[in-house]
């Protein structure tokens, strides 16, 4: 058994780290230490949950310990925190990447002034994301989405150059619209069901005959959370916002933020509250397929490395949404596994781009070339992440894409399967371009003196690269049961498949 008092610590630890960083900003080394320690603490706790949770277990925690007042007239009024298989899966993903990014930032962020502001905002964003994952209350979900988003707006503008401020403003406007739509959806749901607790809500919606209002809420949530997840009609802010942030933050934004605030919330709300109706399934699949193919076509012609990666984020989110849209056991499993894999390889790719920028001072692929000799670690880790994102066997990305494609074929959705394969080939093409222009060929004269990045950055990249190569291990029977299967169980149990 596991003590339920640990659950609120997922929010409390990063939050305490964020504010203590502000208090002790003048002491040298404190921001780094607190940033790494707080994210490491949250990661350790999430691992503890994976190890100690029994299969199918769901831990519910009442905030404030209201005793007899927790339930009024059969409806739960206090805030509940809920941890189940899906939550632990996401907690591990988010906190793992956050911890590695925090370590990477120790060296990388020396390029910027006011490091304490960075770590403070970073931990606030982590607290918001962890909050989104553990909450079982609709309005609480909205609040945590806002905390994470607001911190990310500030982080995108961290460089305070003209371009970064513009991207941040655009991001803030789009994020604000998304939050408004989500809030409106929550209001309609509350007026319809009389409760904010997700479990209660699901029961009430299940027993009532579908009112028209629910379809309005579907639309609002699809647009709102879709904007946060940047699936294709709602993607316009992402290619500006993600490249403008400092590289570790790009890794966090593309690696985990769009998944925690967008994909996870979409899946949690549509599966666990609405019971995943058939219409939503086809919308998910269509949007997923559109995202996959359009974003990868847009990525092909990019020369700014981080912008190219940002377009690929949209494309890969398409795969994940397609997997969840299919809704079969296999589809959900593929979606979740790809979500984890994408977190790993996309954060690695952004960290690679950061290392290249750190060493050469440019992000433009045309100005690089022949860097393999000077930067062997960056070169090889980029290669492994590129192979993983393109779905080359036996790298991690291959397995998750394979499962998603198999799930399409299992349902007879040949069209989607073909699009998935095509998008994968185009991904490979665009990453061959990255490898060719950045690392192969002759070295340029002005890049002769380039040296490999500092050791902490190298270690982080190597760890992530190893996870890219051996990510398929998660599918082995012994490993799968504790981690992946538990999360799949939560979602597939909803539809009885």
């Amino acid at each position: 058994m596991i003590s339920e008092n640990i659950i609120p610590l997922f929010v409390a630890i990063p939050l305490a780290g964020a504010f203590l960083t502000v208090l002790f900003k003048r002491i040298k080394g404190i921001p780094d230490t607190l940033g790494v320690m707080a994210s490491a603490g949250a990661f350790a706790l999430s691992i503890l949950f994976v190890l100690k949770m029994e299969i199918g277990q769901r831990i519910i925690y009442n905030v404030g310990n209201w005793g007899g007042f927790q339930e009024v007239l059969g409806k739960i009024v206090g805030i509940q925190l809920v941890v189940d298989g899906l939550t632990t899966f996401m907690l591990v993903t988010v906190n793992l990447i956050a911890f590695l990014v925090a370590v990477y930032s120790i060296s990388y962020m020396t390029r910027y002034t006011e490091k304490w502001q960075f770590y403070s905002l970073f931990l606030l964003m982590l607290a918001g994301m962890n909050g989104v994952l553990i909450t079982g209350d609709m309005f609480n979900l909205f609040v945590f989405v806002e905390i994470a988003s607001l911190a990310s707006y500030a982080l995108v503008a961290f460089g305070t150059e003209k371009r970064e401020l513009e991207a941040s403003f655009k991001y803030a406007v789009m994020g604000g619209i998304a939050s408004l739509l989500i809030l409106l959806g929550v209001i309609f749901l509350y007026s319809n069901t009389g409760t904010l607790n997700m479990g209660n809500m699901a029961k009430i919606l299940d027993s009532s005959e579908e009112p028209v209002l629910i379809y309005l809420v579907f639309g609002l949530f699809l647009a709102g959370f879709g904007l946060k997840a940047a699936i294709i009609p709602f993607h316009a802010w992402l290619p500006d916002a993600h490249p403008s942030a400092p590289a570790p933050i790009s890794a966090m934004l593309s690696g985990v933020l769009i998944k925690a605030l967008g994909v996870y919330t979409l899946v949690r709300v549509f599966y666990c509250v609405f019971g995943f109706p058939e219409q939503v399934s086809s919308i998910f699949m269509t949007l997923g397929a559109l995202s996959m193919i359009i974003a990868v076509l847009l990525a092909l012609k990019q020369w700014d490395m981080k912008r190219l990666l940002a377009y690929h984020s949209i494309s890969q989110i398409g795969y994940i949404i397609l997997g969840f849209g299919i809704g079969s056991h296999l589809g959900i499993m593929g979606g979740l596994l790809h979500l984890f894999n994408h977190s790993v390889f996309k954060s690695l790719l952004f960290l690679n781009a950061g290392s290249l920028e750190y060493a050469t001072g440019t992000r433009n692929l045309k100005e690089m070339g022949g860097l393999t000799k000077q930067m062997p670690v960056t070169s090889w880790t980029t290669l492994s992440a590129s192979m993983s994102i393109s779905g080359v066997p036996p790298f991690a990305g291959f397995w998750s894409k394979l499962i998603i494609i198999l799930a399409c074929i299992e349902r007879g959705l040949w069209f989607y399967a073909i699009i998935a394969v095509l998008a994968s080939i185009l991904t490979l093409a665009s990453f061959m371009k990255v490898t060719r222009y950045a690392f192969l060929g002759d070295i340029r004269k002005k890049l002769r003196n380039v040296v490999e990045v500092p050791v902490p950055m190298r270690i982080v990249m190597i760890i992530l690269a190893i996870m890219c190569i051996f990510g398929g291990v998660l599918l082995l029977p012994g490993v799968r049961q504790g981690f992946l299967d538990q999360a799949v169980e939560v979602l597939s149990g909803v539809r009885g498949v």
Binding site: N5, A12, L15, F19, V22, L23
Partner: protein, 151 residues
């Protein structure tokens, strides 16, 4: 004329401000301390306290309030408020849960000292909100000065 009158608004505004600023400040404290009994609370009270400082700047011009409450210290007070809020919530873990009201769980309606940790949380929120809002105000002033100097 004394040096005091070189900046800011007219003597009338300055005199009125001098008389009312203390009252506004006190009213903010009243709102915070009665947060659990009457409408208002930490957020509203914190905003009112921040406004009393802003009034000084508006009436006397420039950086009068910054001498009392500098931009650096607003950051510290703000973080202290947040840490205090979180610490109270975490102490609750020892007594039964996150945000457990361990001091006075039941409360007496209408009594000032009755709601356990809720007034303390209100004070923490007021520190956070008041200092945060005033910090934003000071930042805007600095920004404006910077821009007018550039011109």
């Amino acid at each position: 004329m004394s040096k005091e009158h070189e900046h800011g608004m007219t003597v009338i505004v300055k005199t009125v401000t001098r008389l009312t600023v203390g009252l506004i400040f006190l009213y903010g404290i009243y709102i915070i301390l009665h947060g659990h009994l009457t409408p208002g609370g930490g957020f509203a009270g914190g905003v009112i306290i921040a406004l009393s400082f802003m009034n000084l700047d508006l009436a006397f011009g420039g950086s009068v309030s910054a001498k009392v409450f500098s931009k650096g210290s607003t950051g510290v007070v703000e973080a202290l408020g947040a840490v205090m809020f979180l610490a109270l919530a975490l102490i609750g873990l020892r007594y039964g849960g996150f945000f457990d009201n361990f001091l006075h769980p039941d409360g007496d309606p209408g009594q000032l000292v009755s709601a356990g940790i809720i007034p303390l949380e209100n004070i923490a929120i007021s520190l956070k909100v008041g200092a945060g809002l005033f910090g934003i105000f000071l930042t805007l002033i600095v920004l404006q000065k910077f821009e007018s100097e550039k011109k």
